[in-house]
């Protein structure tokens, strides 16, 4: 059942093949152009000015010194910037009024001939503020906390089955976990280049979805979407932080309008933490009750988090418990408090990543209480139907992933006693955790054309943020057309192409691929009508999956996975290093073994960072994140990452989409932090319940 490479029945099929990235050569030779790399004639550079108070109002802006700097074209502020129509997402409503909702909010933008002049002038803009009291500190019992009706993903904030107080249980776990704020920090900072030409707007934007950028700009700048072209040909990562337009694109378009010049806004790295979103911190209380056989009789997961005063975003960290394990008493709830903090948003597996860290750590604690193997505990609690909805699963092979992972990892010989393995001053341990991520899919359009030269042009405004979207969509097309991959020419990353949803929620391939599949299947039929040879003008077919891709399913559709980790804890320093990391996934049909593995491994690597190195601290006095750069916000480096293994179960699921695929971009992060945390407990016998596991915490836990 387990496979690591080609999909079953892949003979004659481009699908599942480990095809090399279509844009690969461009990327390794420096030829791939990102949003800030379009040197339009006369292009100017812009530099934003962030607010230096945590809450208040701009009372005066003195731009005189800035404007005297040679090469400065304009200093835009709320007093002189072009007016915008108010967007749904108020994080984009920049330079429109004097209010400062959090530190780092942009209060001015300098436009200049060069980067040097723009930077110098931004430093020379003097801003006066009226300062208000602020509060950026999340506490479990914050007086302003409220229970939101819905949380991110439109899930209900609270779900309750059975009584609230649980049931009598032989064994109970009642524990708290904490995940600090985290930042996406894609390697390419958010950037946009905008150019107005006679009412036509062209924008190169580092975005996960150009259609949303175009529609948002159309509404904010009160023009028709037909007059706007958004290009996102190559995007240097996003991980959720480029899922919707961010202030860079609005500022670039504003500046281009105000100056009549093409303008690039490339946000300085230090400004990103405050303005492009982050994973909100989550405080978890998890209560589990089980019989001696390990079966859960009660499960409660309560989450407290924050949002900003700019918009409500509630990290849906208790939602995955509704999918994972059933119990007669099942209680999940969220509380959120509005603070004077930067606006949180999507970061890879929002909800699942912190939620499953807490739940899967608590499951490990329960297994220890029961004296039961943690793999077996999960197996006995594997439900037949989705606990919350009662729907059957379209496919659920979590137990297969756990068993296959255990086999590959060598789990069976494990001594379950904590602190039993030492290597000099190092304590070694292993841990396991489960993962889940929903199958999301949105309607998309696509177009396929058979050309007289024997090639096929396939067009869809998909965005390749590093997933390999071009490549896998070409494979979907070749498969549906029944032709060799080399004959397919794929075009993505521009709003002049058929409209498509964003690269987010691990839904891109499912959404775009469905439309590409349908367009190509239809084209194959048309072509057959022409006897297999296209006429001189070519033949084109289009598809729109609206009404089908977004139809309610009778099935609960999720991907699952199992993570295994081995950690070494240095008792001298408290340093934790991961020695082995292994994931096994059941994520439908794997469409490209090469790029899929890279995505799984990438997610696990980010999970390693969440477990060990990454944290952002809100400074109570100043209201910003102390770790504002890549020297202090510790994204894992090469030396932190061992040889990470990703495998998958060949899973056939007829209820998801024509390709049978599920999303793979996010599930890799989901169980990783818990697996590493559980390994650290196994190594040391100490439960650390606050991430990340940095030397200060670990040394304290080990008793110095």
């Amino acid at each position: 059942m387990a496979g690591t490479g080609t999909a079953p029945g892949a003979t004659h099929s481009a699908l599942g093949a480990p095809a090399e990235r279509i844009e690969g050569r461009l990327k390794v030779t420096g030829g791939a152009r990102y949003a800030a790399e379009h040197p339009l004639p006369g292009r100017a550079q812009a530099w934003p000015v962030p607010a230096t108070v945590a809450r208040g109002r701009v009372t005066a802006v003195d731009a005189a010194d800035a404007l005297r700097i040679p090469g400065v074209l304009a200093v835009l502020t709320h007093e002189n910037a072009p007016r915008l129509a108010e967007p749904d997402d108020r994080t984009l409503f920049v330079l429109q009024d004097a209010s400062v909702p959090h530190r780092g909010w942009f209060v001015a933008l300098v436009v200049a001939e060069t980067l040097e002049s723009a930077r110098a002038a931004a430093a020379a803009v003097r801003v006066d503020y009226a300062v208000d009291e602020h509060d950026v500190t999340l506490t479990p019992d914050h007086p302003d906390a409220y229970e939101p009706e819905t949380v991110n993903g439109d899930f209900p904030g609270r779900r309750e089955i059975g009584g609230p107080d649980g049931a009598p249980a032989a064994v109970r776990v009642d524990v708290g976990y904490e995940v600090t704020p985290l930042h996406n920090h894609p390697m390419e900072p958010h950037a946009s280049t905008a150019h107005w030409d006679d009412g036509e707007l062209t924008v190169y934007s580092s975005s996960q979805g150009g259609n949303t950028v175009r529609d948002t700009l159309a509404s904010m700048f009160e023009t028709s979407a037909e007059h706007i072209t958004v290009v996102s040909a190559h995007v240097g990562g996003g991980f959720g932080s480029k899922g919707t337009p961010r202030p860079d694109v609005v500022l670039a378009v504003l500046a281009a309008r105000a100056t009549g010049r093409p303008v690039t806004v490339s946000l300085p790295r230090r400004y990103l933490p405050a303005v492009v979103g982050h994973r909100a911190p989550t405080l978890h209380r998890v209560r589990l009750g089980a019989g001696r056989d390990g079966r859960l009789v009660s499960l409660a997961h309560e989450v407290t988090t924050y949002t900003s005063h700019v918009k409500e975003f509630v990290e849906q960290a208790a939602v995955s418990a509704r999918v994972m394990y059933g119990a007669p008493h099942h209680f999940t709830t969220h509380h959120v408090v509005r603070l004077d903090v930067p606006s949180p948003s999507w970061m890879r597996a929002p909800g699942e990543a912190p939620g499953m860290y807490a739940l899967e750590s608590a499951m490990d604690e329960l297994a220890a209480e029961l004296g039961m193997d943690p793999v077996e505990l999960r197996a006995v609690n594997d439900p037949d139907r989705e606990p919350d909805s009662g729907k059957p699963f379209s496919s659920r092979h979590l137990v297969d992933c756990l068993r296959e992972g255990a086999r590959r990892f060598g789990w069976s010989g494990r001594d379950p006693r904590p602190g039993a393995r030492a290597e000099g001053p190092l304590l070694l341990g292993t841990g396991v955790a489960a993962a889940t991520y929903p199958v999301l899919v949105s309607p998309s359009t696509a177009e396929a054309e058979a050309r007289p030269d024997g090639t096929f042009a396939v067009r869809v405004n998909a965005t390749d943020i590093g997933t390999g979207a071009r490549t896998v969509l070409a494979q979907v097309a070749a498969d549906a057309l029944g032709v060799a991959l080399e004959r397919v020419r794929i075009e993505v990353g521009c709003t002049t192409l058929p409209a498509a949803p964003l690269a987010g929620g691990s839904s891109g391939t499912s959404s775009w691929g469905w439309a590409v599949h349908d367009a190509c299947a239809r084209l194959a039929e048309r072509l057959a009508e022409h006897g297999g040879t296209p006429p001189a003008a070519g033949v084109t077919a289009r598809a729109d999956t609206a009404g089908r891709a977004d139809a309610e399913s009778d099935y609960a559709r999720h991907a699952f996975g199992a993570h295994f980790a081995e950690a070494a804890v240095d008792t001298v320093t408290g340093e934790v290093r991961v020695r082995r990391l292994l994931g096994v996934y059941a994520a439908g049909r794997i469409l490209n073994a090469r790029t899929a593995r890279s995505q799984f491994v990438g997610g696990m690597t980010m999970g390693l960072g969440m477990a060990l190195t990454e944290t952002s601290t809100l400074d109570p006095a100043f209201g910003d994140f102390t770790e504002s750069d890549l020297a202090s916000y510790h994204v894992p480096a090469h030396a932190d990452v061992p040889d990470v293994e990703a495998h998958w179960i060949d899973e056939s699921d007829p209820h998801v989409n024509p390709m049978g695929s599920k999303g793979i971009g996010e599930i890799g992060i989901v169980g990783t932090a818990a697996a590493i945390g559980n390994a650290v407990h196994h190594a040391t016998g100490v439960r650390f319940r606050e991430l990340p596991l940095t030397p200060d915490k670990v040394l304290r836990g080990l008793g110095g």
């Binding site: 040097e116 430093a123 340093e575 400074d619 006095a621 932190d640 940095t694 030397p695 200060d696």
Partner: protein
């Protein structure tokens, strides 16, 4: 960053003259910290006097067996130099524990000594910092200070010095050679950096316009067993949470020479003289090491969130001492 003039000096004399001639001048070495700080608006030189191409790029053995390292020698070349690796392993290890391959290729010996603290309040001109702007106050003392000093800090400043290299130089009894129009002088590396006191804007005892010309590694510590250990948040490319350089000579089971310096605990590399005095002449045993290091760290005054540094420093120091002693015994 405001515009600045640029002068490339061809000799040490020319460099100091150019510095004296241009108010608001700064010397430019590898630029890895200075350019960073200029972009942040923390450093605002009017003129840069480029000393990176001065003929100070050699490592030479002197007649007395000491080693003179030119101030323009790049960190990577110093770490790789066979004489340094063979005679002063702690220095090579310290250099290699710092920054990244790219940064070490650019950073110079002199510049490494003169790099500024990575305190986030110092790096953000929109926040108060007595080091950047005397009298402004300190944002870190009541703020986020997990990485800050536990030894020798003052009401004014709790910053740490970020260098790894300087810690090894302090333990190795190196000297820093300086030059300006008043002439040349030499100071012990362990006394080159200052404690903040009420002048936190001054990191070192260097005079305005004075140029580091070289660092001299003495014959006395050449070939002695030495090692450097650093604890950090990620496995590479991170500043120390605590680090230690140890030079240890054991004879007949007793400590004949001990040089110990801590990094990331104070405003300067912290030479552990109290521990050294306690050790010399005594037994080279883990208990004796723990006792001596404990005496040194008794002076620590941790802040709200950095108390972990005391056991961390103790652990790594005892570990390195014990390793060096057992290597000597075997």
């Amino acid at each position: 960053m405001k515009p600045f003039g640029y002068v490339r000096a061809a000799s040490v004399e020319e460099a100091t003259e150019a510095f004296a001639a241009h108010p608001g001048a700064r010397y430019l070495g590898g630029g890895t910290n200075l350019v960073d700080l200029m972009k942040l608006g923390v450093e605002r030189p009017a003129v840069l006097v480029d000393v990176s191409r001065l003929p100070l790029d050699a490592v030479e053995e002197l007649d007395d067996g000491s080693l003179r390292v030119g101030a323009a020698v790049r960190n990577s070349d110093l770490a790789a130099h066979p004489l340094v690796r063979d005679r002063y392993p702690a220095l090579s290890q310290a250099l290699l524990a710092g920054a990244s391959g790219q940064l070490r290729n650019a950073a110079t010996t002199g510049g490494n000594l003169l790099q500024r603290t990575r305190c986030p309040y110092f790096q953000d001109p929109a926040k108060p910092c007595n080091k950047r702007q005397p009298g402004q106050g300190c944002g870190a003392r009541e703020g986020v200070h997990r990485d800050h000093a536990v030894l020798g800090h003052s009401e004014q400043c709790i910053a740490t010095h970020p260098s790894d290299m300087a810690v090894a130089l302090a333990a190795l009894d190196a000297r820093v050679e300086l030059f300006d129009e008043e002439g040349a002088r030499s100071v012990p590396a362990a006394e080159f950096h200052r404690l903040p006191g009420d002048r936190p804007e001054r990191d070192t005892m260097i005079r305005p316009g004075e140029l580091i010309t070289s660092v001299v590694l003495p014959a006395a510590t050449a070939g002695l067993p030495s090692a450097y250990r650093k604890a950090r948040d990620r496995a590479s490319y991170a500043f120390a949470l605590a680090s230690v350089a140890v030079v240890l000579r054991v004879a007949d089971g007793r400590v004949a020479h001990a040089g110990i310096a801590f990094g990331a605990l104070a405003h300067r590399p912290w030479r552990a003289t109290r521990a050294e005095e306690a050790l010399v002449g005594g037994p080279a045993t883990p208990d004796a090491f723990a006792h001596a290091v404990g005496l040194e760290l008794a002076a620590a005054q941790p802040l709200r969130d950095n108390g972990y540094k005391v056991p961390l420093a103790r652990n790594i120091a005892v570990d390195v001492l014990t390793r060096l002693a057992s290597a000597a015994a075997s």
